[in-house]
């Protein structure tokens, strides 16, 4: 089963996980890492490494979902990138998470990560554009 680490500025990741569980119930193999103003780069690195170790106990790898490309959570996560073992996805949103938990048992790391990227993008809509159709 693919594992998930959500690394974000502040408690966004923990809250996203809580929101996801509100919708689909308890989830497995997921950890949130909160990066705060007073976290040093070493603190951040250690916390992400520990979280990967917790969710990636089988050989199916893990995805680190981060909030924003270019932010510290993503910057540090990138250093864990390892093809077929750890993938990093930025711009995490709730639809992406729900898709992850509905697919983590059926799909491999690479395929799942690719699907999540496009699914996350497709889930963004502007309501007024529907009116113009």
């Amino acid at each position: 089963m693919v594992g998930l680490v959500i690394a974000t500025h502040g408690n966004l990741g923990a809250e996203l996980l809580a929101s996801a569980q509100m919708i689909i119930g308890p989830v497995r193999n997921a950890r949130a890492v909160s990066i705060n103003q007073d976290s040093s780069m070493e603190d951040v690195r250690d916390a992400i490494m520990a979280a990967i170790a917790e969710v990636g106990t089988d050989d199916n790898g893990a995805i680190i979902a981060t909030d924003m490309f270019g932010g510290t959570p993503a910057n540090v996560s990138m250093t864990f990138l390892e093809p077929q073992v750890v993938e990093v996805l930025t711009g995490v949103n709730l639809p992406m998470l729900l898709k992850f938990f509905n697919s983590q048992e059926n799909l491999g790391l690479d395929e799942l990560a690719g699907i999540l990227k496009s699914y996350g993008q497709q889930s963004i809509a502007l309501a007024s554009e529907y009116l113009q159709r």
Binding site: H9, Q37, D38, S39, S40, M41, E42, D43, M68, F69, G70, G71, T72, A74, N75, M78
Partner: protein, 162 residues
């Protein structure tokens, strides 16, 4: 060229810099002066990708970036200059780059350092380095993000670390 912000930030290019400081000082060029990062192509690539295309990014060793900053290459640029340590800030200063003010952004705690604010921890070595920077006519302040009040570092030091 004008250096609109010179900052020590162990996180280098990250959210606070891109989303708060760049628009606040209206920078159109970011210079990362760091020997280690300059030699890590993956990290350079990620930083380049994170920066809007309207902003020029230069990543180089202390020597390389100092030489570019001394030249006429960035004559019309509004430069945001980033270091990771007090030592690097001093070296670039000693290499002939003058910046009027040095911002202490993120200098996080590690073993042997005293914490002065939530984001600034210094040891005696840092204080010595910064005093030398100050000796070059640089005003040293702490301000993590533009919304924080700028504070002279002497005030910080006087209040003592924990």
């Amino acid at each position: 060229m004008s250096i609109v912000l010179a900052r020590i930030d162990s996180r280098l290019v990250h959210g606070q810099v891109l989303e708060a400081w760049v628009p606040f000082v209206n920078a159109d060029c970011i210079v990362v002066a760091n020997d280690e990062v300059a030699g890590t192509s993956f990290q350079c690539m990620v930083m380049q990708a994170a920066i809007p295309s309207s902003i020029k990014l230069i990543i180089g060793t202390l020597e390389e970036t100092a030489s570019i900053l001394r030249s006429a290459d960035l004559l019309k640029k509004r430069v945001l200059l980033l270091f990771t340590s007090s030592e690097d800030a001093l070296k670039v200063c000693q290499l002939g780059v003058s910046y009027p003010k040095l911002n202490l952004g993120n200098m996080h705690s590690s073993a042997g350092k005293d914490r002065y604010t939530c984001t600034i921890a210094l040891d005696q070595h840092d204080i010595d380095m910064l005093k030398q920077v100050e000796g070059q006519g640089v005003t040293i302040v702490s301000q993590c993000v533009p919304a924080d009040r700028e504070q002279n570092w002497h005030k910080l030091i006087r209040s003592g670390g924990r």
